[in-house]
Symmetry: C2
Subunit: 251 residues, 2 copies
């Protein structure tokens, strides 16, 4: 079956302008151009347009879609399966939002109270996404896919109380660590308490805890500037101090 712009456009539910634009940016070239300059699309283009729309549905930029579908290693089945995972994730995130709306209704009706943080639950996912876009690749290179995925997954599934607990823990770690740093002794009581709090905090993000992994993470804290910057913010050297404390704690 062959299609002109209009035919394909109405089949797929996009505008003719969109098809011309996709041609222009090299995302979807027609199978051939007839003697009068008309774009003629074939079966392969229909399939490809479908792929493109799949990815567009996930709010992926057209240039990235281009990279994905034009990649020589492009495995259609695999791409589709990944795609489905993301759709399912999107649906789960919608569930969070729906729960949020339900709560908001209860809240405006005065039945319950909502913290400001709760009010933006479900929107946070966007931040996770953007984080992925920015740091995703680095982090994946550094720590491996599984770690990143699990961390994200846990973050997204976290219940409201958990979220509050974890932010509180984060504060506690920082406070205890600051006090411990003042003592200068990573083997001291305070430093070990900080390491323990850090373990608890970590358990919110990790499926299973092991001393080796904890120690490994501590090493990475010092190797990765993003983490050192975070911990050294108030007191330079804190990241190293935390590493030492953890290394002792996990021995």
């Amino acid at each position: 079956m062959e299609y002109t712009v209009q035919k394909l456009a109405s089949l797929a539910g996009v505008s003719t302008r969109t098809l011309r634009y996709y041609d222009e940016i090299g995302l979807l070239k027609p199978a051939r151009v007839n003697s009068s300059g008309y774009r003629i699309y074939g079966q392969a283009e229909v399939n490809r347009l479908q792929q493109i729309l799949f990815y567009r549905e996930l709010d992926i930029g057209l240039d990235k879609i281009k990279n994905i579908v034009t990649a020589p290693t492009f495995d259609e089945t695999k791409a589709l399966k990944e795609h489905m995972q993301e759709l399912i994730a999107k649906r789960e995130q919608l569930d969070v939002l729906i729960a949020n709306v339900e709560k908001s209704i209860a809240s405006t009706e005065g039945r319950i109270e909502m913290s400001d943080q709760e009010k933006f639950k479900g929107f946070k996912k966007k931040m996770v996404e953007e984080n992925e876009k920015k740091y995703g690749k680095e982090a994946r290179d550094l720590y491996g896919d599984d770690a990143v995925d699990q961390s994200n997954a846990k973050l997204m599934n976290m219940s409201q109380e958990d979220y509050e607990k974890v932010t509180n823990l984060e504060e506690e770690v920082k406070e205890t660590l600051a006090k411990a740093f003042a003592t200068g002794d990573p083997a001291g009581e305070l430093a070990q308490k900080a390491a323990d709090l850090h373990k608890q905090w970590l358990c919110f993000y990790w499926k299973e805890y092991s001393k080796e992994a904890h120690a490994g993470l501590a090493q990475m804290y010092v190797a990765d500037e993003r983490f050192t910057a975070y911990y050294d913010k108030e007191q330079p050297g804190t990241a190293e101090f935390l590493r030492d404390a953890i290394l002792i704690y996990t021995k």
Copy 2:
């Protein structure tokens, strides 16, 4: 609780630029501006930002959001409930897409075959949406909310076979109508067959059929240029002819 731009931004997971932009376009003004020109947001603004993000999630334009949330008759609870309906609808549409992906996988694995039309299922929803944006208001004014909602809902929930049936029916109506028009007799056998087919077609979109509603729709066909344009495309006068045939059919 009072928030500066950054505080509110990180709370809600948006950028500071976004907040400044929302201020600029009058969508979300800070509670006050301190002596140094800093924007200070209060509790009301937090709640309002939440509302805004809800609507933004539905891809509603900021100007429309502005109209919605600044409307003097703005009923928060009602808005939230409507909002939830749309989120649920969105999730259902995601289900359609997921089903589509599943089929696509089966198709690339050679287990089943997909028609070109099938390939774009789930994307069709966008067309419904855009139709809503363009004609929604008119149509709602003209036919009432319920009719439009039901029609959209049925269209979105339609199964694959139904979709094929309905497009076939549409063709059949057009063909029979063309032949009937040639006879010139709206009471004749062919014209009455066309009216009957039209009824069947209609039954795909209506929850319940009544002769009165069918007759009413026939009148509207002639009154609304969009419909007359559709039916008169091949043969001017066809819309009127169909109306007459339906009026006889429903008598």
